[in-house]
C-alpha cells in the first residue's frame, strides 16, 4: 500500500528521492575521496617499513617543548628491552663518522652503519649478493648507486674489495658536508648490494667494525665507545604491530625517545578521521536539505490524504498501522534515494577519476576514490535513517488524527 502511495505522486516522490540521492552521492563521493587519500598515504607508509618496529633514539624528549636531553644507549639498555613483553628482537646500531669510498671519487660519500645480522634495516631489499651474516668482519652491503661507481653493474660489484675512508673532511662536490677526526682507511669486501631507494649513502657493515672505526677515529677503544657514546640507536621488533604501543611505553619508561611507523599510522588515522568527519558533515548538510524535502512531502501527503486516513481508521486501521504506512513511504524515499545516490556516487567517482587521469597522466595509479562495503552500506543506512527521521513527525501527526475529524475533512 505504501509503495502504491509512493508511486502515485510520481513527480513529487521522484523529486524528493532525487534530493536524498544527491545528498547520499555527495556523502559517498567525499568519504570515498578521503578514504582513497588515506589508503594512498597508508600504502606509502607501509612501503617505508615494518609496522612492528620501534626505533630507540639516544635522547630523552624534552618536556613542554624543551630541547631533548642526550641519553646513552648501552648494553644494559638492550638487556632491559629484551625482557619487555612482546619483544621479538633488539638490534643494536652504531653509526661511524661519515666517510667515502676511495674508488668512487668525490661522489661516493658514505654513512657507515654498524648493524647486527638480521637487523630489520638489512632485510629483503637486495639487488645482488647477500645480507650481513654472523661472524662477518671487514665486509659491507652497499647501495646500488655506489656499487655502480665501483663496478660496471651491481652484480659485478659483489666480491669486489674497496677502500672505505672513515672520518676526515667529507665533501659533496666542492662543499664540505661533514666528517670528523683523522681519516682512516679500511678495506672491505662487498658481499651484497641493496636497492638505493632505501638509502643512497648507507654502508651496512658489521657492528664491531663500525665500533672499531668510530673508536679509532676518536682515539678510544670499542668498549670505551660503548660506555661513553653508546649506540646510535636500537631497532626493537615487536611480535605483532598491535603490541607496539606497549613497547613504546616501555622505551619511554627507560627514558628514551622512540619512533614507530605504527604511531605515525595511528596519527594519520586520527587526522583522516577528522578529515572524513568534516567531509561527511558537508555531505550531511545536503542530506539535511533532503530530509527537509522529505518532511515537506510527507506533511503535504498527510494533509492531502486526511480523509483517506479517516476512512482507513474507520474500517479498522490502528494508530500504529497509520504510522507504519507513512513511515514506510518515507522509507521507500530513503531506500530508493540511497540506492540511486550510491550508484551516482560510484559513477561520479569513476568519471572524476578518469578526468583527473586524462588531465594528468602521471597521477598515482592507485584508486582516487575508494568505496568499500562499509561505506556503501553506511550510505544506504544513512539515507534510510534520515528518511525515517524526516518522516517521523508527519507520520505521528497522521497517527494522532481523529478518525471522525479526518472523515469530515474537506
Amino acid at each position: 500500500m505504501s509503495l502504491g502511495n509512493y508511486g502515485r505522486a510520481r513527480l513529487r516522490s521522484g523529486l524528493t528521492t532525487a534530493g536524498v540521492a544527491i545528498g547520499t552521492a555527495l556523502v559517498v563521493l567525499l568519504i570515498a575521496l578521503a578514504t582513497g587519500a588515506e589508503d594512498n598515504v597508508r600504502r606509502s607508509i607501509f612501503s617505508i617499513g615494518d609496522l612492528r618496529l620501534v626505533t630507540v633514539q639516544p635522547f630523552q624528549p624534552g618536556a613542554n617543548g624543551l630541547s631533548a636531553v642526550p641519553r646513552t644507549i648501552t648494553d644494559d639498555t638492550v638487556a632491559k628491552l629484551k625482557d619487555v613483553a612482546h619483544v621479538d628482537g633488539v638490534y643494536r646500531q652504531f653509526d661511524a663518522p661519515l666517510g667515502m669510498v676511495v674508488e668512487g671519487g668525490d661522489d661516493a660519500t658514505i654513512r657507515p652503519q654498524g648493524i647486527e645480522p638480521g637487523a630489520p634495516i638489512d632485510r629483503g631489499d637486495l639487488l645482488a649478493g647477500r645480507h650481513l651474516e654472523a661472524g662477518d668482519r671487514a665486509v659491507a652491503v652497499i647501495p646500488g648507486n655506489i656499487a655502480r661507481l665501483v663496478a660496471p653493474n651491481v652484480g659485478a660489484a659483489v666480491g669486489k674489495t674497496v677502500t672505505m675512508r672513515v672520518g676526515g673532511a667529507v665533501k659533496l662536490g666542492s662543499t664540505r658536508i661533514g666528517g670528523s677526526g683523522t681519516p682512516r682507511d679500511y678495506t672491505v669486501k662487498i658481499v651484497g648490494v641493496f636497492d638505493e631507494q632505501a638509502s643512497q649513502t648507507s654502508f651496512r657493515i658489521p657492528l664491531d667494525d663500525a665500533l672499531l672505526a668510530g673508536a679509532e677515529n676518536r682515539g678510544l677503544t670499542p668498549d670505551g665507545i660503548r660506555e661513553t657514546t653508546g649506540y646510535s640507536g636500537l631497532a626493537v621488533e615487536a611480535d605483532d604491530s598491535i603490541n607496539v604501543a606497549d613497547i613504546v611505553k616501555a622505551v619511554q619508561e627507560l627514558g628514551f625517545s622512540s619512533f614507530s611507523l605504527k604511531q605515525v599510522v595511528e596519527q594519520i588515522d586520527q587526522g583522516f578521521g577528522v578529515f572524513k568527519g568534516i567531509l561527511a558533515g558537508i555531505g550531511g548538510v545536503a542530506l539535511l536539505v533532503a530530509a527537509i524535502g522529505i518532511a515537506n512531502t510527507m506533511v503535504m501527503s498527510v494533509l492531502e490524504r486526511t480523509r483517506e486516513i479517516g476512512i482507513m481508521k474507520a474500517v479498522g486501521a490502528s494508530p500504529r498501522d497509520i504510522r507504519t504506512l507513512f513511515l514506510a513511504e518515507a522509507a521507500y524515499v530513503g531506500v530508493f534515494g540511497g540506492i540511486l545516490g550510491l550508484a551516482l556516487g560510484l559513477a561520479g567517482g569513476q568519471i572524476i577519476d578518469r578526468v583527473i587521469r586524462q588531465l594528468n597522466p602521471r597521477t598515482n595509479p592507485a584508486a582516487i576514490f575508494v568505496v568499500g562495503p562499509d561505506l556503501a552500506l553506511g550510505a544506504l543506512a544513512l539515507a534510510l535513517g534520515v528518511a525515517l527521521l524526516a518522516g517521523f513527525l508527519p507520520a505521528r501527526r497522521a497517527m494522532r488524527m481523529s478518525a471522525l475529524s479526518a472523515l469530515r475533512y474537506e
Partner: protein, 226 residues
C-alpha cells in the same frame, strides 16, 4: 426475543465543549439491541443519532455512562483495541460512501482485512466472494469513480460486511441515492437481516425507518421512544 444483546447502552453521555458552552449530544441514553435485530434510530438533525452510531462504532468515546458492543465494554479499550473493534466487531456504512477513489472496488472491500493481518491473496479472494454475494462481480476491478451511487453504496456495504461484523452500522445510507437505488439498498438491508445480520440504521426519514423491525426515536440527545 431472547437473543443476547449486540448493543447495550446505559446512561450514555457525550458532551462537547466549545469555549464556555457545553453541548450534550447524548444526554443519558439507555437502550438495548439484540443480535439479529434490524433497528432504525430516527430523529431530527441534532438529536444525537449519528453520535450514538459513532460511539457504537468506536469512532467516538462517551463522556459518561457505559456502552457494550457484543459484550465488550468500549470504555476499557485503548486506541489499538478500538481499531480492532472497528475492523472485526462492527461494519460501518456512511452516507458519503467513503471509498478510496484510487483503489479498485475489490481493494476497497478488502481494506479492513488488511488491518486484521489477513494475507493479500486471501483478502482478495474473500472480497471477490463478498462482491459476488452483493451482485457486484462485474464492478470488482473498476475504480470507485467509475461506479454509480447505488454501486458505490453496495461496495461500501461489501466492505462493511467483509470482516463478518456482529453489527452493521449505517448512517443515512440512502442520503446520496435516488429513490430507486435507495429502495434497492433497503431491500438489501432487509435481505441481510433475514440472514441473521444485526443492523443499526440511522435516518431522519420515517419511510426508511419503517423497513426496520424496530425504531428508536431520539430528540435532544435522549431516547424518547423505543
Amino acid at each position: 426475543m431472547n437473543a443476547p444483546l449486540a448493543v447495550e447502552a446505559v446512561g450514555l453521555e457525550r458532551t462537547y465543549s466549545s469555549g464556555h458552552a457545553t453541548v450534550a449530544a447524548l444526554a443519558g441514553v439507555t437502550l438495548g439491541i439484540r443480535r439479529g435485530e434490524f433497528v432504525a434510530v430516527m430523529g431530527p438533525s441534532g438529536s444525537g443519532k449519528s453520535t450514538l452510531l459513532n460511539v457504537v462504532a468506536g469512532l467516538e468515546r462517551p463522556t459518561g455512562g457505559t456502552i457494550r458492543v457484543d459484550g465488550e465494554d468500549l470504555a476499557t479499550l485503548n486506541e489499538e483495541a478500538l481499531a480492532r473493534h472497528r475492523s472485526k466487531r462492527v461494519g460501518m456504512v456512511f452516507q458519503a460512501f467513503n471509498l478510496l477513489p484510487r483503489f479498485r472496488v475489490v481493494d476497497n472491500v478488502a481494506l479492513p482485512l488488511a488491518f486484521s493481518g489477513v494475507p493479500t491473496a486471501e483478502r482478495t479472494l474473500r472480497a471477490r466472494a463478498m462482491l459476488e454475494r452483493l451482485g457486484m462481480t462485474a464492478r470488482a476491478d473498476h475504480r470507485s469513480n467509475e461506479l454509480s451511487g447505488g454501486e458505490l453504496q453496495r461496495a461500501a456495504i461489501a466492505r462493511a460486511l467483509i470482516g463478518e461484523p456482529a453489527i452493521l452500522l449505517a448512517d443515512e445510507p440512502t442520503g446520496n441515492l435516488d429513490t430507486a437505488n435507495g429502495a434497492a439498498l433497503l431491500a438489501l438491508f432487509e435481505e441481510l437481516h433475514a440472514h441473521g445480520q444485526t443492523v443499526l440504521l440511522v435516518t431522519h426519514d420515517a419511510q426508511i425507518a419503517s423497513h426496520a423491525g424496530r425504531t428508536i426515536r431520539m430528540r435532544d440527545g435522549r431516547v424518547v421512544d423505543q
